[in-house]
Amino acid sequence: MEAENYLLCVDNMKKSFGITKALKGVQLQLKSGEILGLIGENGSGKSTLTSIIAGIQPADSGGILFHGEPYSIQNSVEANEKGICMILQEKATFDNLSVAHNVFIGNEKEFCKHGILNNKLIFEKAREVLKKIGVTEIDVKDKIKNRSFEDGKLVELARAANLNPQILIVDETTTALSQNGRDILYTMMENMKKEGKSVIFISHDIDEMMSKCDRLSILRDGDYIGTLEKEEYSPEKIKSLMVGRTITDNYYREDTKSSYGDEIVLKAENITTSNLKDVSFELHKGEILGFGGLADSGMHDIGKAAFGAIHIKKGKVVDGQNEQIYSPSVAMKKKIAYIGKNRDQESLFVNSPIRDNVALPSYKIIAKNTFVSPTKERKFVEEWTTKLDVKMQNIDQYVSELSGGNKQKVAIAKWLGFGADIFILDCPTRGIDIGVKASIYKLLTDLKNRGKSIILISEELPEVIGMCDRVVVLKNGQNSGIFVREDDLTENKLINYMV
């Protein structure tokens, strides 16, 4: 096929950030009416490449042909006008604006008359757009900051749907969505394909990529490795092309029986929060306790409540000594660690160096009589960033400059360094590539074997089933079933209790 026959054609694109070569001459071809997968390890350049296409940043060199013609744009607004739209890996909604205003951000003109914004119309139209993509539960008048991270992503989807683009780029969004959110995204992608439009889809989930994408382009360390046609798909092949060597298949825990101590280390007694109703659970020493559910199940509140980070209306969370946990600093004194889902707002200081991020919870360990020695701090941070294989220039690099998956690794490194006895992990492998995922699962297993306890909250059912001793399924903020680890625990079984 000649270049003119492709809808979008990227040739020899290069981009460097200081000494980091993010793209070293990459090519990419996108046909009309196809879903093209883009896969590669963390920091391989996926977001960089796609954000250049979407006009968010300029390339150093290299050309793009769109409809067979040279395509040059200054910013993302121009890209939108030309019909290219991107859902970012990071949060891209405005906290203090309503859902509706977020949907139409940048397009308020349509609702203006004599310079006055017709809010009623905006709300009405927003409801329409949301409904069209299948979202009905979100109140369009709500401020974004009162909505969950997932809702924010759905609002971004609606924003894109409203622009009706020729090319939609979806960067690592599925891991932010629960089952029903994912279905909304998939339907939207399928519909675009039917209309002859195209999607560039980025995810680290190989099964998902194989089932959704018509072709699969692979990047490794800023290099273009190749593109697979659907007939050529196999997990082994994709993995080995991604990492440049073969890696073993099974990365979850190997034993299939649940095992944990008798001692209870954490107990929630009838807790009620704005999203939970009367939920109780017990966490044992050496146990991995999983939580699963749909978007509105309130499962993300479990982690926050157990860490004392949100207001509990009724009931309480206590540790093994029956002492109440009512604030994060109390929780930390009891050696509890918490990695939240909303990475950029809650888990990380993106505008600070990696060093400050990793060391912050652990100054008590690093300091000697209040003195925090810079060398000791550096050693500490380097130890943990190396263990998690964070791809960075050095520890003084700003977190905002890291790729999505590497940011997540920093968040995990921070709490592993803290050395807690109880880890509360909310979607810990969000946006992390398979190689590192495997090492995180191994780490969790090690922690468990050393008698640490883990609460694992995740949208990924295979992960929950693969790792946990017991799984609690939540539905509408209530406990709807508890499952013990066994051979024949399947996703379907859990899903039955979710909906």
Binding site: E346, F349, D356
Partner: protein, 309 residues
């Protein structure tokens, strides 16, 4: 060339500003700036600004501001004058204690009553000056004469060194200093890292109060009196110093301690230079206003500014 790429010129601005100011006055006054006598005068005029800016830098790294500092200093100075009548040796401890209490009140209004720092300290400033007027009862208070003899260069240089060293230590080498910047970067993330945001905020205001207390004492031994105008020009100078030095209004990890030193000395050389040029105080006021405007203009990172606190 790689080296050049690494240097961020924006971070060099403040230092270039300081060098520029010094060179400007050195040329205009025909070399008077670097005479020993004048250097002493510069140190003298940097004394108050420097100590206050050291404490203020912590408040700024949290992303807060303080409008009440001059008044806290005046109240401390007045209380020092009152107890000096009983025993002059009580003056310093009492001044520092009073400053700390008023600072804690700032912390209470900001962190517990949950008012933004600007509004909080505006309110407290007005309360504090009310208290000041009550104590002074419309007049001034004077200290025993011989206390003036305490006001020596060596004492001041020692005090400055001690406070700067404590500042550097707290700022760069303790969890407290780092937590301040963490709160300034993102208070919610800091809270979820176990940082007691409330405590950190209290601490910054209490420490500011301590510093103001100490300065109240030094003001007393310098002028021998406490009056309603004590410390009235302090705040403007300190804000100027902080901004000229490059402390970001938004707080966070961009705050560096060197800004405190650079900013304070820029202000000191500026004031000193204007005196050398023989400017009248009303002209100085105008020029200082302009300097403040410039300081704010260059320090506002408009690209990244979302809201103005």
């Amino acid at each position: 060339m790689d080296f050049l790429k690494k240097v961020n010129f924006k971070t060099l601005f403040p230092l270039l500003g300081l060098i520029g100011v010094v060179l400007f006055f050195q040329i205009i006054t025909g070399g008077k700036v670097f005479q020993t006598k004048n250097i002493m005068a510069v140190i003298n005029s940097s004394f108050f600004i420097l100590i206050a800016t050291v404490a203020f830098s912590f408040i700024m790294s949290v992303g807060n501001l303080d409008l009440s500092m001059g008044t806290v200093m005046a109240v401390s100075c007045t209380c020092a004058a009152v107890v000096a009548k009983i025993s002059p040796f009580l003056a310093l401890p009492v001044a520092i204690l009073v400053g700390g209490i008023f600072g804690a009140f700032n912390g209470f209004v900001h962190a517990d009553m949950k008012l933004g720092s600007l509004i909080a300290t505006m309110t407290t400033q007005s309360i504090f000056s009310g208290i000041l007027v009550l104590i002074l009862d419309g007049g001034t208070l004077s200290a025993p004469k011989y206390m003036l003899s305490w006001n020596t260069m060596s004492l001041k240089i020692t005090a400055m060194l001690i406070i700067v060293l404590i500042g550097i230590y707290l700022f760069n080498f303790t969890a407290y200093g780092k937590q301040c910047r963490a709160v300034g970067s993102c208070a919610e993330a800091a809270r979820l890292c176990g940082v007691s945001v409330r405590r950190v905020k209290y601490m910054t205001f209490i420490n500011m109060g301590f510093a103001m207390g100490a300065l109240g004492f030094f003001s007393l031994i310098r002028t021998g009196t406490a009056s309603a105008t004590t410390g009235s020009d302090l705040m403007m100078n300190v804000w100027c110093a902080a901004l000229l030095g490059g402390l970001p209004l938004s707080g966070g990890s961009a705050a560096k301690f060197r800004s405190v030193l650079i900013g304070s000395f820029t202000m000191a050389f500026l004031a000193n230079g204007m005196t050398l040029m023989g400017l009248l105080s009303r002209d100085k006021q105008l020029i200082q206003g302009i300097v403040f405007l410039i300081a704010v203009a260059i320090s506002f990172d408009r690209k990244h500014m979302v809201v103005i606190k």
